[in-house]
């Protein structure tokens, strides 16, 4: 199992969510974050001076999915969260060792 963590523009969330639903992917945990990209952020001009950009609101989506689904999810997120301008976001993939439900004593299979 993997955790796919996508950090996207808040305004693209609905599109991404709908697309994921369309492909049968429902489980997700979402949080509001602030972020700054690697390219030094955006340099705003303020009366001639370059002003360092502070952090900008982003949405973080965490989806724990089967290994086989990772590629598909990355594709969907890219397709629907992209505007082509800096700040579109990142997707990180992390290993997950175990998944448990709280409701039952069921264990989702660690590798599938």
């Amino acid at each position: 199992m993997k955790m796919v963590t996508a950090i996207i523009r808040p305004e693209m969330f609905n599109a991404v969510r709908t697309a994921l639903e369309g492909e049968g992917i429902y489980g997700m945990t979402v949080s509001e974050v602030m972020g700054r990209g690697a390219q030094k952020g955006i340099a705003l001009q303020f009366r001639g001076k370059a002003v360092p950009v502070d952090l900008i609101p982003k949405l973080k989506i965490e989806m724990v999915v089967k290994d086989a689904d990772v590629e598909r999810i990355i594709r969907i997120v890219r397709a629907h969260a992209r505007t082509g301008r800096p700040g579109d976001g990142r997707i990180f993939v992390l290993p997950i060792e175990r998944i448990c439900r709280v409701r039952t004593d069921e264990e989702d299979p660690p590798e599938s």
Partner: protein
């Protein structure tokens, strides 16, 4: 002779209307994305501060100075010359400041059309020009002895002057400044609905000052306006709520939008119609504005926070409804329902000219500013959000 009851009443009403300007800021701020929350509130404060000064310098005189050809007031009252503590019922100075808070509010409503993308320097220039070239003439026409007064058009508390003007100006601005990046595709849900509701509550509260205060006395007419105001707000809210329910889950933003629609529509009518007439006026306003909002979205117009749909269309509806429901027993004039179709015609003419003038003149001002200094922030600034880009502040973290 100064009446202390009337003076007390109009003084407090003025304060209540003043509170409506930040209330519009909170209302709008809650509706935009979080990265522009502060910007919307700041625009409201800036609008109010600018107009406060413009008004004492020249605005009041342009609106209420000696009439020039029915078009504009003279400069006899610039810098408050000849505006003193004496007056008829209330001091002249009180009438001046009561009118000032209306002008400030109108400009704050206009920010709907440029939400999340206006350059603050351009807004300042725009605000001064708009108040001087759009608001002041309209106020003169309706209340300062201009052609509309002479024609017999009636506007109790500013349906035309405040709401039609700001609503259609917001539309003009929105068309010229262009849509927000990603409009239509991107999610642009309200970032803070409780704030929207708080702002709406303060608007409802302040509107009593707006409408009842326009009687300029603490008398039966003020009471009539007060009661009509509340009824229209309630029926507007319920009508919108019911419509939204028929079409899906009824949101709280719809409830308060309906209330504001009702409040806008009763504004020109409050001192001319019987309180009970506010039931149909409010309910129809809810429906009209709801339809206007749906229409705007269908057409892909990014008049972002619906000043046009609610204030503009609600204002038109209210002005016409005044021509229908007015009754001489309340405000001295009969409307269509009481056998005077002429009033409706006059109202229609008045509305048409107000719509045309405010839309056209705002287009002109906006075009000129756009050409000279640019209306809009850069793409980067818009993406980052105006809170950070223009104010260096952020609503959380």
């Amino acid at each position: 002779m100064i009446d202390s009851g009337a003076t007390a009443f109009v003084l407090i009403c003025t304060a209540m209307v003043m509170l409506m300007t930040p209330a519009v800021g909170l209302f709008y701020g809650g509706l935009v994305r979080r990265k522009n929350f502060i910007s919307m509130i700041a625009l409201a404060f800036i609008a109010f501060a600018l107009v406060s000064i413009q008004w004492v310098v020249c605005g009041y005189s342009l609106a209420f100075g000696t009439d020039i050809c029915g078009l504009i007031g003279g400069l006899d009252h610039i810098f408050l010359q000849g505006v003193g503590m004496e007056g008829d019922g209330i001091p002249d100075l009180l009438f001046m400041v009561f009118q000032m808070v209306f002008a400030g509010l109108a400009l704050a409503i206009v920010t709907s059309g440029v939400a999340e993308r206006i350059k603050i320097s351009s807004f300042i220039v725009f605000g001064l020009l708009w108040t001087t070239l759009v608001y002041d003439p309209l106020a003169h026409w309706a209340w300062g002895g201009g052609w509309a007064t002479q024609l017999g058009a009636i506007d109790f508390a500013g349906g035309t002057v405040v709401h039609i003007s700001s609503g259609f100006s917001a539309l003009a601005l929105a068309l010229i400044i262009g849509r927000r990046l990603g409009f239509g595709g991107h999610g642009m849900e309200p970032n803070n609905i409780p704030m929207v509701l708080l702002g709406g509550a303060l608007l409802w509260f302040g509107w009593f000052g707006f409408n009842a205060g326009s009687a300029l006395a603490a008398d039966g007419l003020a009471v009539n306006a007060f009661v009509a105001t509340n009824i229209a707000a309630a029926t507007g809210a319920l009508a919108w709520f019911a419509l939204a329910w028929v079409r899906g889950r009824p949101g709280s933003v719809g409830i308060i939008s309906g209330a504001i629609a009702g409040l806008v529509a009763i504004t020109p009518a409050a001192g001319f119609v019987a309180p009970i007439a506010a039931i149909p006026i409010g309910a129809c306003a809810g429906i009209v504005c709801y339809a206007a909002l749906v229409f705007r979205i269908r057409r892909g117009l990014d008049e972002s926070l619906d000043a046009w749909a609610i204030h503009g269309m609600g204002g038109i509806f209210g002005a016409l409804a005044t021509g229908i429901f007015a009754v001489a027993a309340i405000g001295g004039v009969n409307g269509l329902l009481y056998g005077n179709p002429g009033l409706l015609l006059i109202q229609a003419v008045d509305v048409t000219i107000a719509v045309g003038y405010s839309f056209g003149m705002t287009c002109l001002i906006a075009k000129v500013i756009d050409a000279v200094m640019g209306l809009r922030v850069t793409e980067e600034e818009e993406y980052v959000g105006l809170d950070i880009a223009q104010h260096g502040e952020s609503a959380r973290v």
